[in-house]
Amino acid sequence: MSSAGQSLALTGRALREALRTPEALFPTLFIPLFFLIVNTGQASEILRGESFLKGQGYAAFQLPSSLLLAASFGSAALFLVEDIEGGYFDKLRATPASRTSLVLGRLGAEFVKSATITLVLILISLLLGIRIASGPIGWVLLLLLTAGWGVVYGGFMQLIALKTRSAAATNSGGLVFFPLLFLTPSFAPRDRLGDGMREAASLNPVTYIMEGLRSLVLDDLDWSAIGRGFAVIAIAGLVMIALNVRMIRNYD
């Protein structure tokens, strides 16, 4: 079987694992939705009619932050720690399966999980009056871009899991995302931020993913914003996969 086939077999296993642990999926859906509603409730009246909202409510502007948050729970890494602690990871390492497939198996499942949760969140957001201005293609790109971020972040969390082999350390590693999320134009467009914050946001790669997502929600297809978002995902994704494979090859 090819490395792709091995990856698919391992992805199937990781998806069964997720479906059989529904309690791990609940916060992934609930917390981003909570932030969407609370943040919108706090700022929507202040920002009503602002031109950067492109005729929509503030919830549409906030939706990308919630999508990124939902894709950043990294439960795959915690399942990996369970595999390591329980000895199943060694059983997988003792097979001739390619080390790349051991990484991609879990990340493939992370992609599917993130895409599904994104779809559910977007459907709920329609009930809140949000429109996806970029149409059906935009829906697909929203799913791909968010799920791509899920893979990147899942890869980052897996690195921590492989390095520390500890659930507590992996959980703490997840908190790294919060500064990255807040060093973005999450509450207002970049050109409305103060100088220091604007520079910090410009240096933060998550900014470009968020702006890509936001353009899909608020604009017709803005290929330059979308392209920057996908470029960040592609580069960061390749780096994460390469680092994970290297870590497993050198795993003692």
Partner: protein
């Protein structure tokens, strides 16, 4: 002669900022094809570290190891196709069923889906888990988990089977079932490399054994040879037990006090 397992001057050091721990200090081993080879030693002697090096799970600091003629450092993937591994703790995913576990394992050894399904059924029958094959593993007893673990190690019909303390934590009945399995697997031509802390297990199963202590092999031979050697050396009237051989080889003594057996360092 090609050995099923061959190690020369095998060394493993663990280095940290503060110190370097020499877990294995130059192990030489030769296990013939078709043997059940016992690898004994006290806790921390280097048994599991040696097994993990031989099974590609741990890097080798120096020395060489070949399994079924394949150098495990040079061609780890080729070596993995020739060996089956059941480690100290049954490494299983509790959320999968026994059948799913075996099918996935077979798929990772390159079997097509249909063959993997068939192989899983054969193995479930072999280890007497057909009725519970579609239940999740987390509901299995310790003995059932151990049998499933053994089955996963046999998915690809390995030439050499490594069993690291396969009966630790099992009740006596389950232990006997595993012994029968090991004998049956060996009769079919698979070489078995077995680590254990139970000396009666080594006595019952192994053609030959080695005792490791402090990261070095301190004694090697057939169980009968080792007993005879100790008997001759000490001028005993009868064969000593393998326990006594072990205690002699590892420099430990046994003292009886108020009916209790206490093991102390000499």
């Amino acid at each position: 002669m090609t050995y099923a397992v061959e190690a020369e001057s095998l060394v493993k050091h663990y280095s940290s900022r503060k110190e370097t721990v020499e877990a294995v200090r130059g192990v030489d081993l030769q296990v013939a094809e078709g043997e059940v080879f016992g690898f004994l030693g006290p806790n921390g002697a280097g048994k599991s570290t040696t097994v993990r090096m031989l099974t590609t799970l741990l890097s080798i600091t120096s020395g060489t190891a070949r399994v079924a003629g394949v150098d495990v450092s040079v061609e780890p993937d080729r070596a993995r196709r020739k060996i089956g591994v059941a480690l100290q703790e049954a490494g299983l995913d509790g959320r999968q069923t026994g059948r799913e576990t075996l099918i996935l394992q077979a798929r990772l050894f390159d079997m097509p889906q249909a063959s993997a399904v068939d192989r899983a059924q054969v193995l479930l029958e072999l280890v007497d888990l057909v009725e519970s094959g579609d239940r999740r593993v987390k509901g299995y007893s310790g003995g059932m988990k151990r049998r499933l673990d053994l089955a996963t190690a046999l998915v690809h019909q390995p030439e050499v089977l490594f069993l690291d303390e396969p009966t630790t934590g099992l009740d006596p009945a389950s232990r006997l079932v595993v012994w029968d399995e090991v004998r049956r697997i060996n009769e079919q031509g698979t070489t078995v490399f077995l680590t254990t802390q139970y000396l009666e297990e080594a006595d019952a199963l192994c053609n030959r054994l080695a005792i490791i202590d402090g990261g070095r092999i301190v004694l090697e031979g057939t169980p009968q040879q080792l007993k005879t050697d100790l008997r001759d050396r000490r001028g005993l009237d009868a064969d000593p037990t393998l326990d006594e051989v072990f205690l002699d080889a590892t420099g430990r003594t046994r003292e009886r006090a108020a009916g209790d057996v206490q093991e102390v360092l000499a």
